[in-house]
């Protein structure tokens, strides 16, 4: 591919989604965008690049961005963040919300839904312990295709065997042919909508807990800083932010600080939050239903 053409794709992805493509990842363009080029009647990526100069078709741009997203996810991914959610964050936040008895959670790059649905299963399991709470989980992503998959909540045999305990599969899923679909009561706990993290977040409201896991890794420092800065305005003063295992706020933004003793969890810089982390909450392996 010509450097000029590579730059067209690189710039488009950066402006439209924040995703950074370095020259050593050029092969990703080839493997992921060649099918898009074919669908749009272009012989190859160079031909499609020509069509992207000037005022390109918005639908084509959208397809290119979607094709370049990495949607890798799994139920209870990395386990520990979910043990922490169940045994430390949820007890803390329900205590904080004894008066309003409302809980708002945002999964800011939810992919095919495993992350928000893991949370709804925990909320369902824990409901008795915390009494009646009105819970609202919002799942957003830049890929419409992946959101559609999240809404239908139908997963392959492979997907339901990664991270999901068999007891939860039996309890919350229905088998349809070779696939598994989440039951309606868990499904309807999550609302999905398209949202680009580069866009203004003011319309989204305020959340008690934000999951923004395994997406900042695709962005450059300035974009990370900008997103985290705006995100801090959507997090309640006593709220909790989750980042992915390879992500941090340190050296990126002053808006958040790590919660003492709890890796991967962050709070407002001026927050006085202290979480009680039991051995159970800190368990690295095995999400226990």
């Amino acid at each position: 591919m010509l450097t000029a053409d590579f730059d067209i794709y690189k710039d488009l992805l950066k402006t439209e989604s924040g995703i950074i493509i370095t020259p050593d990842k050029a092969y990703l363009l080839d493997s992921r965008l060649t099918p898009v080029a074919r669908r749009w009647g272009h012989e190859d990526l160079d031909a499609m690049a020509a069509a992207l100069r000037g005022a390109p078709d918005k639908r084509l741009v959208k397809e290119i961005v979607e094709a370049m997203t990495t949607n890798e996810t799994s139920f209870f991914r990395d386990t520990r963040p979910f043990n922490l959610f169940k045994h430390a964050v949820l007890p803390y936040i329900t205590q904080q919300r004894q008066n309003t008895r409302r809980l708002k959670i945002w999964c800011a790059a939810c992919s095919s839904g495993q992350e928000p649905y893991s949370l709804s299963m925990i909320l369902k399991e824990e409901a008795e312990k915390h009494g009646v709470f009105q819970t609202d989980i919002l799942g957003t992503d830049i890929s419409e295709d992946i959101l559609e998959q999240a809404r239908t909540a139908i997963y392959s045999q492979f997907e339901v065997q990664r991270g999901l305990p068999i007891q939860l599969l039996m309890k919350y899923f229905e088998q349809t042919d070779k696939k598994w679909q989440l039951k309606n009561d868990i499904r309807k706990m999550v609302r999905y909508r398209y949202f680009n993290l580069l866009d203004s977040m003011t319309m989204l409201g305020t959340f008690d807990i934000i999951f923004c896991r395994n997406v900042l890794i695709y962005f450059d420092e300035a974009t990370k800083r900008d997103i985290l800065g705006r995100m801090s305005k959507c997090l309640a003063p006593d709220g909790v932010l989750y980042l992915g295992g390879a992500e941090t706020v340190l050296g990126v933004t002053d808006a958040f600080k790590p919660i003492t003793g709890v890796r991967g969890l962050y709070a407002h810089a001026d927050s006085e939050i202290a979480l009680t982390v039991s051995e159970q909450a800190d368990a690295k392996s095995a999400f226990m239903p």
Binding site: T79, Q157, Q161, P165, Q167, M170, A286
Partner: protein, 120 residues
């Protein structure tokens, strides 16, 4: 940690063994439930990867016999089978299985299931 791999297909046993050895887990093999039971009487493993349909004694019969057998510690049992419907899975869990792998599987799934029951 010792894992007993019980499957009448030597190919499946070999594939599972290769994945487990990558994870630094020692392996023993048995080709049916009867062999598996004898192997357990010699050396009790920490975990058993168990096929369902096998000649001589099937996986379910073996597990029930094992669970009824007085031993200081019971190994964890992970079914690993093509019996992939809810009825079979429920029956296995009710009879004392700890986890359940639906074939075909890959190394991610095996690792995930081992983590699930606290072995890793």
């Amino acid at each position: 940690m010792l894992c007993l791999i019980v499957d009448d297909s030597s190919v499946v046993r070999k594939v599972v063994r290769r994945i487990l050895e990558e994870m630094d887990i020692d392996c023993a093999e048995a080709a049916d439930g009867q062999q598996a039971f004898e192997s357990c009487q010699n050396t009790m493993p920490d975990v058993i990867m168990l096929d369902w349909n096998m000649p001589v004694m099937n996986g379910m019969e073996f597990m029930c016999k094992l669970r009824a057998h007085p031993t200081p510690t019971q190994p964890k049992v992970i079914f690993c089978t093509t019996e992939n419907d809810t009825d079979h899975i429920q029956a296995a869990l009710a009879a004392g299985a700890d986890e359940y792998i639906m074939k075909p599987f890959d190394s991610d799934i095996i690792r995930s299931k081992f983590e699930q029951i606290g072995l890793l």
